[in-house]
Symmetry: D2
């Protein structure tokens, strides 16, 4: 080891480098597959974060160990051609494996993906007669309901795959109560026996696939099923608190999807306040609500398969 | 007329008041209709702008002619109870008529509405057996595809209704070319014979219903049909320029919907650039694209029924 | 005129083209001027909108009259080199003149600019001794207080210059009252004799420079003075209504700046509600406020030099 | 322990509750202090997150252990009166201590604050003569340069205070190089010997004050000094990589502020690409740049005082 090696440098310093990572963020890659006249889209936003032997670049500015962020960007686009994009998770796995196995100085790669979903535009009657299909095979409209997310981390040995979604707004217009809570000097809230329950779901779930030897889950089917269970549990839980609903949403997923061991939610309580119409001599029988912005209740929690370790960070917002 | 009347004040001033309007903006009203166990939602963002005899409040601060913005807010919520919300347009018509006809000092009302659409959550098999319905009748997920807009203006005599939508993202993965354009000293663009055409549609359309004597359009059906024609024209136009597509989208609406005389579009050309993969010895056969943010082409235009006057403002973005 | 000329096409169509414009939007150009070791920045976001003989491109997709949006982008960057960026307005004038005078098919150009202001980073004591300056001459921090805007329109004969600002947030913590307003069935607001008045100023002002023969204003000095007068009028007006404050802000500008004939404001009333602390047996003597998001009052109005015509659009938000 | 106690419930469940927290987020509290005619503002956005004995509310919906989010909101506003707001950190300390010590079921409180800074509006000459002050004593304009953040966590024994800032945009127009990096099959980037270095600083720093027995730092002064050192280190580092600049910014803080043991940065490399003007026969001598949006390099790292433990989360964006 020479005099300028990282560890010797570090030893002499009163100020040390801690965890660090770098890469190109938000590579907007769109992949078209042309199956004859029928086209398929994958529309992703891919962010790369690499860690490894990076003391020198921080201490002295030497880039000798650095694969540039520009190169990580090029790799994302080249891999969309070389490997295609079967699913966001599979694509991220290809990328993470490449960075860790192809560069000695890179020991860990974390790939994050946002995915935007598209659906086909229905053809007009005239056109569907003409082209013999009731959808235009190369025309799409963005679905827009939620943003799908995934994060793949690889250290050369183990995989961690955390998928999720955000911006999924849901509402129950009844079957929600809230009462029986603690009261102190600052409590003024009145108990509610029939309220609106609405939230914008942000959720992440961790797969128990961690090893190349294991059979890989069907990422696309898994996502559709998790979303379905999450929505149904929200709809079908008679709710005494948003925390109870959160737990039910998580439990329904764990109970139905054996590939998943952990789910975390961040659920803003999007308050809908019943408007007081009495000053106008009107009765508001759970009809007219004011949808408030801020402040909002924020309920966050992890739901775990028994015997499993929690690994999704508490502040998962940026996952 | 007294010495402090608006017009005499104005006469003495070197600095005059021009067009002005005021009101409460962004009232977030949610209306639930309970039809037995089946609930229905209307979810609106309503903004009120009133004009009239407002010289005094500007020149001297006298509020004697001012119906407060707080009162306009209360009216929005009270009307959601008194009139219900059949459609955004009908609700705005109730409000505009009220402000202009109930206050002598208010001569013109403009009501703007954004509407967020919800769809029902599908019940789980277990639950649908139990409740005998394949959807949970009080549980909703926000559709999220586009935001629907409407603007109603009333001056006591004539109505102007301009409806629209925004944030509707569409893409054709082929059937778009771009060539044969002007070239000058600053032109470097290469001609394209098969490109992606994508845009985020912002559109407003004006109804020819202007008078209480006329039969009112079916606002809900009209919206669904306009959106359908717009999407189908986008999908089915073999495009030589985004301007051509814009015109076809507008013409399809004018030709199919007799209640509409004018359509305006603001269409950002969401560029998808083919990635150059040659440095990596890969061939990119219209497969891998980079979705760019800024700059973007911005194509705006009005399409009009022959003989009709254009009234939608050129800068309609804030309509 | 041939059979495919625009006017003959139009004559045969039941659906006509109205106002239209196109160009590249949001070109983010940064210009560094190196005066020895001292650098200067101009940081702009430039949007081009051109109009002219554009029937063909809409009706048939022929681009023969179209200067591409890509070329307009190139021109922005090339002009930053060829002409420099003395001010946003002067730069926009160069661009607008070029597009209209260099292409026969372009009859009107509208250039919009947003400008972001930077200030120098103060040097540390050690460094300022060493380099002999108390500021680092090539290091900047974005000021961030407001965004400066300008819009220049040229039709080959007349100029229209409208400058402005947005996102300038101001507050008076006293000297604001609100009472004496109209009351109707829906009025519940209590009169206020000492309230917070806060708004996020969005303003545009029109110069009376319209002709190359006139002496051009000093755009940079004018902006600084307009902002100063606007802030001071806000601060020094004892306000009985936000409308009164709006008028005073405009009048102060018109009275002090002879180069400006018209000012328009869009002033959201950023409500600060006094929190009711009585349930906690606390007295709130104008001390603790809740800053609300939505809804908000929105006060908009034009202030004009006597004898001048109002030309700033009512919905200036997108100007 | 009864049959329905949390732990017995948990034992029987195949799906367990993990980390959870709840509270009211984004309470926008504005505090005015009136020192005669001179007013002072504190403008905060306060978010509360509480943890404790919360199994029941998740498993059964019983709220018996829950202090409602509405009560946490009320407490924020009441404390602004009872304790004033000396600094964001001190205010958060009051709140955290209250929640943990006043409710048996609450074991941990985390208070997050965003602070918006205001400066006084300069008086006009006329007015400053009249009122005898060159600033209007109750009139303010929002500074807007950065958002200040703080997070205080308390578990009844130890304090953790992490302060920070975000949205602080900085640029060096020279003294930045980038070369000598790894090259692989996907590398196309050209080395740079004089480039613009720009970033939007997001930073958090942890204080070594953890115990009520220790002398509390001067939070306000500390913030001003940290910001100053951070800016100066950015300006005065001749940079061979953004990582090197990051380390220097952190080291300057650790070396100068003994109250701080750890600093973490998230630094997007806001790329400014030199525009190729050669096609227009123009030479671009580091003058004209294109400011790109996405993708961007993202450089993140922790800088630590020797012997100290890193505790700021790797994904600090939501801190």
């Amino acid at each position: 080891m020479t005099a300028t090696s990282p560890s010797s440098r570090a030893a002499a310093r009163p100020v040390l480098l801690g965890q660090n990572q770098y890469g190109k963020a938000e590579n907007r890659v769109v992949r078209i597959v042309r199956d004859g006249d029928t086209h398929h889209i994958k529309d992703l936003n891919v962010s790369v974060a690499l860690s490894g032997d990076m003391e020198d670049v921080h201490y002295s500015g030497s880039n000798a160990n650095v694969l540039t962020t520009d190169t990580t960007k090029n790799t994302v686009f080249a891999f969309a051609k070389e490997h295609g994009i079967e699913s966001a998770e599979q694509f991220a796995i290809h990328l993470a494996r490449h960075f860790v196995t192809s560069q000695e100085t890179i020991h860990r790669a974390r790939i994050r993906v946002e995915e935007y979903t598209w659906e086909r535009i229905e053809a007009s009657d005239a056109n569907s007669k003409f082209i013999g299909a009731d959808e235009v095979r190369h025309s799409f409209v963005r679905k827009g309901q939620e943003i799908r997310t995934s994060q793949v981390t690889y250290d050369g040995e183990q995989w961690e795959v955390v998928s999720g979604l955000k911006e999924l707004v849901v509402m129950n217009s009844t079957n929600s109560e809230f009462w029986g809570y603690l009261k102190d000097r600052y409590t003024t809230l009145k108990e509610a026996y029939d309220r609106i329950l609405a939230t914008e779901v942000s959720s992440r779930w961790r797969f128990n696939w961690t090893d190349d030897e294991q059979k890989m889950p069907n990422w696309e089917k898994s996502y559709q099923q998790v979303k379905k269970h999450m929505l149904q549990a929200f709809a079908e839980t008679y709710s005494l608190s948003l925390q109870q609903t959160l737990y039910q949403m998580g439990a329904r997923i764990i109970n139905n999807r054996s590939e998943i061991d952990e789910v975390r939610f961040s659920l803003p309580n999007k308050h809908h306040f019943l408007v007081d119409l009495e000053p106008f001599e009107l009765k508001n029988d759970n009809e007219v609500y004011y949808a408030a912005d801020r402040p909002y209740g924020l309920i966050e929690g992890t739901v775990l398969r028994e015997g499993c370790e929690a690994r999704i960070p508490v502040d998962m917002t940026n996952l």
